[in-house]
Symmetry: C2
Subunit: 335 residues, 2 copies
Amino acid sequence: MQSGTLDVVGIGNAIVDVIASTDDDFLAKHGMNKGAMTLVDEMQAEIIYAEMGPTLVNSGGSAANTIAGIASFGGRTGFIGKVRDDALGTEFRHDIVAVGAQFTTMPATSGPATARCLVLVTPDSQRTMNTFLGASAGLGADDVDAELVRSAHITYLEGYLYDAPSAQTAFHLAAEIAHAAGRRIALTLSDPFCVNRHRDAFLQLVNRHVDVLFANYAEATALLQTDDRAAIVERLRTLTDVAALTFGEDGSLIVAGDAAIEIRAMRLKSVVDTTGAGDLYAAGFLFGLTHGASLHDCGHLGSLAAGEAISHYGARPQTNLRELAEKSTFLPSGG
Amino acid sequence: MQSGTLDVVGIGNAIVDVIASTDDDFLAKHGMNKGAMTLVDEMQAEIIYAEMGPTLVNSGGSAANTIAGIASFGGRTGFIGKVRDDALGTEFRHDIVAVGAQFTTMPATSGPATARCLVLVTPDSQRTMNTFLGASAGLGADDVDAELVRSAHITYLEGYLYDAPSAQTAFHLAAEIAHAAGRRIALTLSDPFCVNRHRDAFLQLVNRHVDVLFANYAEATALLQTDDRAAIVERLRTLTDVAALTFGEDGSLIVAGDAAIEIRAMRLKSVVDTTGAGDLYAAGFLFGLTHGASLHDCGHLGSLAAGEAISHYGARPQTNLRELAEKSTFLPSGG
């Protein structure tokens, strides 16, 4: 490709996070499934918002967080996702453009409002999410900017988007465009409940199209219908080229061909909010992968970025990840 | 008063903060006065927003931050301030009601948008603020809920509001209502540039109406036209009953009658963003003052709350100040 070549283009939900701290009683009272992402309609979102505490608002969305993380490492990025032409949509656009990402998706001018995710953080630093998908679910094949996808070494797909039917079509189209241009496809499984909702479609997508897979243990278990770690690893070897299997504070395992590389988790300071840990792990990993790092160093860059994300409220980095990485030994030379 | 009695009602700008980290070059390029608050019009606000980095958005406003802090200590609070009926106005209302404050001011249904403050945080943790006052400047005497003011032991006035002419009238009305009910008036001078803009009006207000005055050294210098600390202290003794003079990381000095009490600053962990340090100092102080604490302990509760505020982005507390205070020795028994 020409000089416009990007490292990673993300395709995902265009969501603004609305974050409040809460307690277990609040989750119980509202019948919320701790640690999970639940889809809600606009009315439910309004009810939860009215009852939750004072909020911090910043742009979110799993793949968009990953893109912001890659940009913070100094990577060249793009993003495809749907907002409405409203105040939250303007905020989402500002924030993704401000990190330097190319964002060409046109906002919807009618229909539901920009997506928001009500994030409730309990004292154990776990986040429980209630997402109103709104305009984001309107993403379709027409929104896949073929030139943007072709220009990126890796196109990164957000599993959550499988909850929006037209987005499934967009995923497959993007994967075909990318592979036709000799590029790679990465996917995050996003959430065990989401995997359960779309297991067969996910298996088919991974099998046909995915070169790099991100999953935590619960998501891998949901996909492969086994909680036996050895069995999961063996299945992943055959399903995809590279799989990064994450285990929260127990680190991660990178499976590629015959190799299985153990990576430890990193903690920068006290854990405040685990929102974005997985998204930022993927950011460090994909930045490394597109800059010639070994899989071992990709994993450590992922741990580093995840460690930063969990040290404050909100998923996107508040520290320059490039500067953080330069203090480590994992940054590829010239990368 | 009946059971509805409140500790503190704040009257101030109803502002949403839009916070980004930046560097000194950005401030220089835009001719910004580091550490100061500058008023901008909506067009200038749009231009700065378009060029600033990814943002965190949360409710702000100096007196509103103080009210949120007092509520976090467990105090009973109210707030008077003007938003518009737009998305940011809804966010401001949600957040002040969510902390438990009584907020009865009607939103404007026409005219300028809800106020926002673009906060730029440099690596030295200083914040430089560009404020579009919008709907907030429309606060007038009609918005002063006399019953709310009468019900509060202390009515706390935000000096920044002096930039809005109709708000000056509202201040004097609130002060007269409060004093007629045997209540006390507190004032923060807010900003040295604001004091310079309205010096005579401030001197008259302090002399006539203010029982408790908050000022940092630069603001006191601007008000009293001397930078001699001993001279400032002597003038403050005659101007008001209690004055809390703050010196940033060098702590504060409480002047009351013949007494002058030195209070040290507190630092909980590393300093991230000094936005809200003064607002939260006032919160701790006023919570103490309305709960029978000694002036010494009021000062230390102020330092404690300020120390929490500067440990993260954003001015409002992210930790329960009540729990923090319970670990200290400064909380009055039964308070």
